[in-house]
Symmetry: C2
Subunit: 388 residues, 2 copies
């Protein structure tokens, strides 16, 4: 049954090989000071920086540089970005990069004019925004997080070993995002594949919850089937435009609030994965893949009906003459085979996790209560151990 | 392959049994003169009028009444509404009704300050809006058209026997829409079922086009499966909230631009159905159901791959040991059986169409060129004859 909800997604998207040509028109809506946020400099090597900077200059903008956003943006970097945004009297933050860069841009947008420590207000206390928000635009160069059309902004605190995501409201969503699939071609295969699983995990964590009949789950199944099909092509042929463009579009819709409407959601794989990330700085998508099989096999008995549906509708398992449990197990087996085919990290040990970290990672995993089985901290340790 | 496109859908939706409680907050964003647009008065019988009027009064609004919007809103009614909106210096048009009422409200919103005949500018010449637009909000009481979250506005001209839909840009989309499934319960079964097929036809007309692999088609399949499942429940049990709420949500996403992104579309069933509507004033969804089977059987050989996919993915036809043509035919056969099960009109003769109208209806059908086989006027006559 569809519960009560509101839906509003004001982000304007420009999609395709010519998407950047719309940047100038969007820039004209904002003042002259633009903070250009990006990561380690790969956009300078692949030419995207020059293309974006050329549009900014043609539009008469003053560029305030904010480079060096790391894959897991830190709270120290956030403080630095806030200072820079205030000093530069920034009118627009333009994020050029993947989800980390977009997340960071949104975190700065709500934090620059926050009158207390934004880590305390937005991450520890998870409060709503009550101060001025600097608008954000995105030019996406890596797919996975959906950050280009949502309010998510994950920040890592290395001192406290916490990686926390605040999902802000639609006033914090990017005003526009430019999605050119070709801009994602130069990403190394490891990061590309990790991004594919991040997308899959977003869909699964919203799908594996609830016992009602809900249209959101049917949309989720469609997205999963398209993702499985296109990702198999893309890992073999990363410059296959058809596959990469479909994946880019799936990533956006996997986490822009649509498929969570009217239903409960789980999110424990992300909670555990984020805690792994805080301990290891491992690539986000790989922290999810490493814990997923153990997690889903653990909760399967508690949501058996949905795992049966998943096996049949997504993995084409024939249910004839099989018990529900066998159907569900066969579906998870096909998922595992697919993950190995993609080359995903299937073990935490491969990400630098050691036995002595497991208790700490479990303690750092925020426990969400929407799934078929709300795990205890002990159960999380068990899942982590099975994932080693 | 996903083509180039932009996506922007600024409509805010409030969904669920308590959705109307958000109307007051939305009204506070607009000036005091609100034109309350509705149809034949059923909202006065079922109490929705009183509920909405009470919120308007509590919000200190002046209500300018504009009742009597007919199922196929006419150009004469449009002129009258424009005059009323100008004279009342209307700040917001609040549509309370189904797709016809919402469509009409949008037509008035762009036409009231049009400096020439809006029929000529927006319907015959299909021009963009260059004048002031009055904002529109919707309280939906019938599902089907998707008008609550798109720019569509179909108007009928009885003098010229033309029923034409202009799909306006996102500046004309409703600013907000209130979607309470319970508000749709009192609709007579004939109109309810016609609405279900209108939804199905929207999805199918976007699905049956193109030969690429496109995520939009996977989403369409998910929506179709959810619709088939819930509509079978709703025709037997119209007050089944789970089914009715799912259908209401599917209707919105079936025609709010999402599933057409990056692909070509067909739309000939709507073009033929609208011409039938201009001749008979028949219920919109039934004009679509009456011509659909003949239309799809006619184009099937030209888009065989997609009809095979449709049969397998949507109608669970087993492809084992069958020719593509047989798989596709079996899929269409299951669709026809489903339509009969719902009680849809399967013949034009049942809608008051007579043989002597067929040439005129075919001439009045605008020929769109996105489908697997662009029909000639003669082919449309043939399809109409097969639909009698």
């Amino acid at each position: 049954m569809l519960g009560n909800f509101s839906y509003s997604n004001p982000t304007k998207l420009y999609f395709g090989q010519n998407a950047l040509q719309y940047l100038g028109e969007e820039l004209s809506r904002y003042g002259k000071n633009v903070m250009l946020v990006y990561g380690g400099g790969s956009i300078k090597k692949n030419g995207i920086y020059d293309k974006v900077a050329a549009v900014l200059k043609r539009s008469g903008k003053v560029i305030i540089e904010d480079a060096g956003v790391m894959p897991n943006p830190t709270v120290d970097k956030l403080y630095e970005g806030c200072k820079r945004a205030r000093e530069g009297q920034v009118d627009l933050i333009l994020a050029v990069g993947g989800g980390s860069v977009c997340d960071y841009a949104k975190a700065v947008s709500v934090s620059a004019y926050c009158d207390e420590d934004p880590w305390d207000k937005y991450y520890l206390r998870m409060e709503d925004v009550s101060n001025r928000i600097i608008p954000v635009g995105c030019v996406l160069t890596m797919v996975g997080t959906g950050s280009e059309m949502n309010g998510g902004a994950v920040i890592t605190n290395h001192k406290t070993k916490q990686k926390i995501g605040h999902v802000f409201g639609d006033n914090v969503f990017p005003k526009f995002s430019i999605l050119n699939p070709i801009f994602t071609y130069t990403l190394p295969k490891y990061q590309m594949t990790a991004g594919f699983f991040d997308i899959m995990s977003h869909i699964l964590e919203q799908y594996f919850s609830g016992s009602d009949d809900n249209t959101s789950d049917y949309i989720a199944e469609g997205l999963l089937k398209s993702l499985i099909h296109s990702s198999r092509i893309a890992v073999k042929d990363p410059e296959n435009y058809e596959a990469r463009s479909n994946i880019m579009w799936i990533a956006t819709w996997a986490l822009n609030t649509l498929i969570a409407k009217g239903k409960t959601t789980d999110w424990m794989v992300h909670m555990i994965g984020q805690s792994v990330g805080a301990y290891t700085d491992a690539t986000h998508g790989m922290t999810l893949s490493a814990v997923s099989m153990a997690y889903y096999r653990h909760i399967m008995p508690y949501g058996l009906h949905k795992f049966v549906r998943y096996a049949v509708n997504v993995w084409d398992v024939s249910p004839d003459g099989k018990t529900d449990e066998n159907i569900a197990r066969e579906g998870l087996g096909r998922m595992e085979a697919y993950m190995k085919e993609l080359g995903l990290e299937m073990h935490l040990s491969g990400l630098g996790v050691t036995e002595d970290m497991l208790d700490g990672i479990a303690k750092g995993s925020i426990i969400m209560d929407g799934g078929y089985k709300v795990p205890s901290q002990d159960e999380i340790v068990q899942i982590l151990r099975e994932s080693m």
